[in-house]
C-alpha cells in the first residue's frame, strides 16, 4: 500500500523530465551538425558519414495567387554514400496572394522522390498574412508524407521568440535562422520560448554570432560551395558553442 506513491512518482518522472528537462532530439537519427548546401555545385565528399549531415536545397517552389511553379536542384551535389541527407524545399511567394495549398503540396512532394533522404525541411519566410496558409499547408503536407519521414521547417528568429502560431505547427523541429536578421537589433534569449525552436539553430559562416542559444543541433549555411576549410571551421565552431 505504501508503495503506490513511489509507483506514481516513478511513472510521472519521465513526464517531468520531458517538461522541465532537456528537450529530446526530434531527429535522433541525424548528426548534430548539418550543412545547408544551397544551389551551387557542391562537392561534400570530405564530410564523413555520421560526423555531419547535408541539408541540401532539393527544390524551389514559386507561387502567387493562381500559379505554382517549381524547379529541382540543377547543380550537382556530391557526397560520400552513407551521409545523412535532408531535402530542403524553399518556398518563394510573390506576395500577390496565395494559391490552393494542394498545388504547393504537390510540387513539394517531388522533393521526396530523392532516394535515401532522412527528413524534409521547408524553408519559407512567411509574411504575417501568409502564416495561416503556411500552417494549413504544413498540415496538408504532413498528411501526404510518409509517416516515417520527419517534417521540419526553418524559422525566422522572431517567430520563435514572439509568436504562438509556430507552436501549433505539425513539425518535428523549427530551426531559427540567426543570420540576415534585418536592420533591427535582436537580443537572443538563452533558449526560445517556443519549444519547437529549442532543438536546433541555423547560422551562416559569414555572420557567425558571438554566442547562440543552447541547441542540440546546428545548421551551418555557407554562401557558395562548401570547402573543406569552411567545414572544419564549422565543426570547430560547433564544439566551441557546445562546450
Amino acid at each position: 500500500m505504501r508503495l503506490w506513491p513511489l509507483i506514481v512518482c516513478g511513472a510521472a518522472a519521465p513526464l517531468f523530465l520531458l517538461r522541465f528537462g532537456g528537450i529530446s532530439d526530434p531527429l535522433p537519427s541525424l548528426p548534430r551538425i548539418m550543412l545547408w548546401a544551397w544551389e551551387s555545385p557542391q562537392d561534400l565528399r570530405f564530410v564523413r558519414p555520421g560526423q555531419a549531415g547535408i541539408a541540401f536545397l532539393a527544390r524551389t517552389v514559386w507561387f502567387d495567387d493562381h500559379r505554382v511553379r517549381s524547379r529541382p536542384r540543377l547543380a550537382p551535389l556530391r557526397f560520400t554514400p552513407g551521409t545523412d541527407l535532408m531535402a530542403v524545399v524553399r518556398l518563394e511567394s510573390a506576395g500577390r496572394g496565395l494559391p490552393p495549398r494542394a498545388d504547393v503540396v504537390r510540387e513539394t512532394m517531388w522533393a521526396t522522390k530523392t532516394p535515401g533522404i532522412r527528413a524534409l525541411q521547408i524553408d519559407f519566410d512567411a509574411r504575417e498574412s501568409e502564416q495561416e496558409w503556411f500552417a494549413g499547408y504544413l498540415r496538408d503536407l504532413r498528411r501526404e508524407l510518409p509517416k516515417d519521414l520527419p517534417l521540419t521547417i526553418t524559422a525566422l528568429e522572431y517567430w520563435c521568440e514572439h509568436e504562438r502560431w509556430i507552436g501549433s505547427l505539425p513539425v518535428a523541429d523549427a530551426t531559427p535562422m540567426l543570420f540576415q536578421m534585418g536592420p533591427e537589433d535582436r537580443r537572443l534569449p538563452e533558449r526560445f520560448p517556443a519549444s519547437v525552436c529549442r532543438s536546433s539553430v541555423g547560422v551562416s559562416m559569414d555572420e557567425l554570432p558571438v554566442r547562440v542559444p543552447k541547441a542540440r543541433r546546428l545548421y551551418f549555411f555557407h554562401a557558395g560551395p562548401w570547402t573543406r576549410e569552411a567545414y572544419d571551421a564549422a565543426v570547430a565552431q560547433a564544439w566551441r558553442w557546445w562546450r
Binding site: P72, G182, R186
Partner: protein, 738 residues
C-alpha cells in the same frame, strides 16, 4: 582631484556596463561597398572607356566588354541591353523585372490551360519537367521537357479539339497518350510509351501517335530509338511533324551524347543536323538547326568554334550576342576538347597565342593558365596595347618585373588601362616587399582623378605602408561606391545612390586598426585631427571616451568629452552632468544614466553599416549578440605590428587591449540596480524616472539578457509607479519585462 575621482567611478561603471565585443550594431541590407568585386563601380563610366580596376572576380562579360571598349569598338546600347542577364545578378534581374520566378513557363502555362480546361476525360496529372539523376553519392536534375514542348503540345491540343470535338474518342486518345509523353519527363513512375494507333485508325491520329511515341522515347532517355522514329517521321509526307523530323532526330543523338555519354551518337548528330539544314522543307526550323550545329561544334570542335565566337563578339552586330557570349565563356573556362579531355599544353598555347580575346579573358580569369603572365607580356610586346600590361602585371613572374614596371611608367595616366595598371603595380610591389616603389606608385595614382572604386582599392594598399599616423589617417578615409550596394549577398546597382554614399568614412581595415592596434593617445589625436570629417571625429571621441573611462584614464577622458561636446553640442547637458558631479556616487549615476540612454556606447569604433553611439540621443535597443563587421573578432585578433607605431605606443596598446578584453559583459540588470540605488538616496533627481523607465523598457521585447533581470525590472517598475506616479516616464511604462 575631483575629476580623477569622477573618472575612476565612471570607469568602474563602464567597465561593468560595457560588453566584450560590443559595438551594438544590426546586420541589414543594403550594405556599403567600397570597391565591388563582381561589377564595375560605375557602368556608365565603364562603357565610356574608364574601365577602372578590372578584377578576376568580375563577371566575365565585363572583361569582354572592357576589351571591346579599349579596342575601340565599345558595346552598343542594344548589345548592353541584350547582355543584361550576363551583367547583373540573378537577384537583380528578379527585382528589376518583377518576375514571378526565374522560370519562363509560357508554354507550360498554355498546356496547363488547355489540359486543365479539357472536360473530356481524366483530370490533368501532375507533371515534373525535370529528370533527377541519382547516382552513388550524386544528386542533380536537368530540364528534360523544355518549355517549347509544352507550347507545341498546347497548340496541337487546341487544334485537335477544334476539329475533332471535345469528347471525340480521337481527342480522348490523343490527350491520354500525351499525358504518357509528359509522364516521361520525370520518369518517376517508370517509362511510359503510348501504344501505336490501332489499324484503321484516323490517319491524322496515327501520325500524331507516331510522333508521340518518338517524343515519349526521347523523354524516357531512349535516344537512339527516338532518333530513328523521328527520322521515319521526316520521311512521312502525311505527318504534320515531317519538317521537324531531321531536327528532332539530331537532337535525340545529341542528347545521347550529352546525357548518356554515347559519343558515337553525338558525332552522328552532325549528319542529321546538316540534313535538316539542307532540306528546304525544314526551313521553318533553320534557326533551331543552326543552334544545334553550334552546340555540336562547341562540344566537338571547341577551338574552331571559339574562333568563330571571337569574331562574332569583337564587332558590333545586329544579332543578340548573349548566346555567343555564353558559349565563348564556356569554352574559355572549360578548356576541354570534344572527348572531355583537358586541352593539352600545345592546344592551350595555340589558343593563347592566336586568339587575343580568349587569351585576355583566360589571363584575367580566376584560374589563369600557368604561363598567363608570360603570354600576356608577349601580347604586349606584339601589340603594344597597354591593356595587356594588366594581365601581365596580375600574373607577373619575377624575371619580368623590371620590364613591366618600365612599360607601365610609359602609359599615360589618362589612358583607359592606367587605373588597373597602377593598382596592380602597387599591389604587386607591395606583395614583393618593395614598399618604396609601391608608395611612389600609390601616391602618384592618388594624385589623379581616379574613379571611386579605384581610389578605395589603392588606399587599401597605401594604408599598409603608412609611415606615420597622419598618412594612416589620410589613407583610412574612403568614399563608399555610390552606385553599387551589397544586398542579400549580391552586388546590385543602387538607384538612386544611398544618402550615406557621399560621406567619407572608414572601411573595415581602418576600424580594425583603431579597435585593436592604436593606443588611446592616438585616439585623442585623431579626434582632434581636422583632416578627418566631423562625423568620424565624433565617433572616435565617443568610443574613445568610453575607452578612456574603462582604462581609468581621466585626462584623456576629459579631453575626449570636451571634443565630443564641441562636435556635438547636443551632448553638452549629459556631458556636463558627468563633469560637474560632486561625488563619486553622483558621477556613477551620471554614467549609468548615459549608458541607459545610449546602449550603443562602447569602446569599439563601429563599422560603417552599424549604428554609432550618440550620447545626446536616447534609444532602447542594443544587441551584444550581433556586432556588425566583427568587432569581437577584431578585438581577439593579433594583427602584425604597425610600422609607424613606436615601441612605447605598441606596448601601451597591448596593455590597453588586455584591460578592454577583461571587461565584464553587458548587464542591464546591473545598470538598473545602480539607478534604483541612486533613486533611493536621491529621489528628487529629475533623471531618476527616465533612468528607471529606460532600464525597464529596454527589456522589451528581447529581455534583459540575464536571469536576474526580470526581478530587478519588476522592482524598478514598482518603484517608478509608487514613487513617481505622475511622471510622464511612468505613463510610458505600463508593464515590466522579463
Amino acid at each position: 582631484m575631483r575629476f580623477w575621482q569622477v573618472g575612476l567611478v565612471v570607469a568602474a561603471v563602464l567597465l561593468i556596463a560595457t560588453p566584450e565585443g560590443l559595438d551594438s550594431c544590426g546586420i541589414g541590407p543594403p550594405a556599403t561597398l567600397f570597391a565591388p568585386t563582381t561589377v564595375p563601380g560605375d557602368m556608365a563610366a565603364f562603357r565610356a572607356g574608364r574601365i577602372g580596376v578590372l578584377r578576376r572576380t568580375f563577371r566575365q562579360a565585363y572583361l569582354v566588354a572592357a576589351f571591346r571598349t579599349v579596342s575601340g569598338a565599345p558595346l552598343t546600347d542594344a548589345e548592353v541591353d541584350a547582355l543584361d542577364p550576363l551583367f547583373v545578378s540573378r537577384n537583380e534581374r528578379y527585382q528589376r523585372n518583377g518576375a514571378f520566378s526565374p522560370l519562363f513557363t509560357s508554354g507550360r502555362d498554355a498546356w496547363d490551360e488547355q489540359r486543365g480546361g479539357w472536360k473530356g476525360g481524366t483530370a490533368a496529372p501532375a507533371i515534373e519537367p525535370y529528370k533527377q539523376i541519382n547516382g552513388s553519392g550524386l544528386v542533380y536534375s536537368f530540364p528534360n521537357c523544355l518549355d517549347p514542348a509544352f507550347a507545341v503540345a498546347a497548340d496541337t491540343m487546341k487544334y485537335l479539339r477544334s476539329i475533332w470535338g471535345e469528347n471525340d474518342p480521337r481527342t480522348v486518345d490523343w490527350v491520354h497518350a500525351q499525358d504518357q509523353v509528359f509522364a516521361d519527363c520525370s520518369g518517376t513512375e517508370g517509362v511510359e510509351i503510348p501504344e501505336p494507333a490501332l489499324a484503321g485508325a484516323d490517319p491524322l491520329l496515327a501520325a500524331h501517335r507516331r510522333y508521340q511515341i518518338a517524343a515519349a522515347s526521347f523523354y524516357a532517355g531512349q535516344y537512339r530509338k527516338a532518333s530513328l522514329a523521328f527520322e521515319q517521321i521526316a520521311g512521312d509526307k502525311d505527318s504534320p511533324w515531317q519538317s521537324l523530323g531531321h531536327y528532332l532526330s539530331a537532337r535525340a543523338l545529341l542528347r545521347a551524347g550529352l546525357i548518356n555519354g554515347d559519343m558515337d551518337a553525338f558525332r552522328e548528330a552532325k549528319t542529321r543536323i546538316l540534313a535538316a539544314l539542307n532540306d528546304p522543307r525544314d526551313e521553318e526550323w533553320r534557326d533551331d538547326g543552326l543552334a544545334l550545329l553550334r552546340l555540336w561544334q562547341m562540344r566537338v570542335e571547341p577551338r574552331a568554334r571559339l574562333a568563330e565566337l571571337t569574331a562574332e563578339l569583337m564587332h558590333p552586330r545586329d544579332e543578340d550576342p548573349t548566346q555567343s557570349m555564353t558559349d565563348f565563356l564556356y569554352i574559355v573556362n572549360n578548356r576541354r576538347n570534344g572527348t572531355g579531355r583537358a586541352w593539352s599544353p600545345e592546344e592551350l598555347a595555340d589558343v593563347e597565342t592566336t586568339n587575343e580575346l580568349a587569351a585576355w579573358v583566360m589571363d584575367l580569369s580566376e584560374k589563369p593558365p600557368a604561363d598567363a603572365g608570360g603570354r600576356a607580356l608577349e601580347w604586349w610586346r606584339k601589340t603594344g596595347k597597354p591593356l595587356w600590361l594588366i594581365p601581365a602585371l596580375m600574373n607577373a613572374q619575377e624575371k619580368d618585373r623590371a620590364e613591366l614596371l618600365a612599360a607601365a611608367r610609359q602609359v599615360p595616366a589618362t589612358g583607359p588601362a592606367w587605373e588597373s595598371i597602377a593598382y596592380y603595380v602597387v599591389s604587386g610591389e607591395l606583395a614583393r616587399g618593395h614598399e618604396e616603389t609601391a608608395r611612389i606608385w600609390a601616391d602618384r595614382a592618388l594624385a589623379q582623378n581616379l574613379q571611386i572604386a579605384t581610389r578605395n582599392l589603392i588606399l587599401e594598399e597605401r594604408i599598409k605602408i603608412a609611415r606615420d599616423f597622419s598618412e594612416f589617417l589620410r589613407s583610412a578615409l574612403r568614399q563608399p561606391e555610390p552606385k553599387v550596394v551589397l544586398y542579400d549577398g549580391f552586388e546590385n546597382p543602387a538607384e538612386p545612390a544611398p544618402d550615406w554614399a557621399w560621406r567619407r568614412v572608414f572601411d573595415e581595415d581602418a576600424t580594425r586598426v583603431f579597435n585593436t592596434q592604436l593606443p588611446l593617445s592616438l585616439w585623442v589625436d585623431a579626434s582632434g585631427d581636422k583632416t578627418l570629417p566631423p562625423n568620424l571625429r565624433l565617433a572616435i571621441a565617443q568610443c574613445g571616451w568610453a575607452r578612456a573611462l574603462l582604462l581609468g584614464r581621466a585626462d584623456e577622458a576629459g579631453t575626449l568629452l570636451q571634443r565630443l561636446v564641441e562636435l556635438n553640442p547636443a551632448a553638452e547637458p549629459v556631458a556636463r552632468a558627468v563633469l560637474s558631479a560632486q561625488s563619486p556616487e553622483e558621477s556613477r549615476f551620471a554614467a549609468v544614466y548615459i549608458a541607459l540612454r545610449d546602449p550603443y556606447l562602447g569602446p569599439w569604433l563601429p563599422g560603417l553599416d552599424c549604428d554609432s553611439p550618440d550620447i545626446a540621443r536616447a534609444r532602447y535597443f542594443a544587441n551584444p549578440y550581433w556586432p556588425c563587421r566583427g568587432a569581437p573578432q577584431q578585438a581577439q585578433s593579433n594583427p602584425a605590428p604597425l610600422p609607424f607605431l613606436s615601441r612605447p605606443q605598441q606596448a601601451a596598446n597591448e596593455n590597453e587591449m588586455k584591460q578592454l578584453r577583461a571587461a565584464e559583459p553587458w548587464s542591464l540588470d546591473y545598470l538598473l540596480k545602480q539607478a534604483m540605488e541612486w533613486a533611493r538616496s536621491h529621489p528628487d533627481d529629475p533623471r531618476v524616472p527616465e533612468a528607471l523607465h529606460r532600464g525597464v523598457r529596454r527589456g522589451y521585447p528581447y529581455g534583459g539578457g540575464t536571469p536576474a533581470y526580470g526581478k530587478t525590472a519588476k522592482a524598478a517598475f514598482e518603484m517608478l509607479h509608487q514613487k513617481y506616479p505622475k511622471s510622464p516616464w511612468t505613463a510610458k511604462t505600463p508593464y515590466w519585462y522579463n
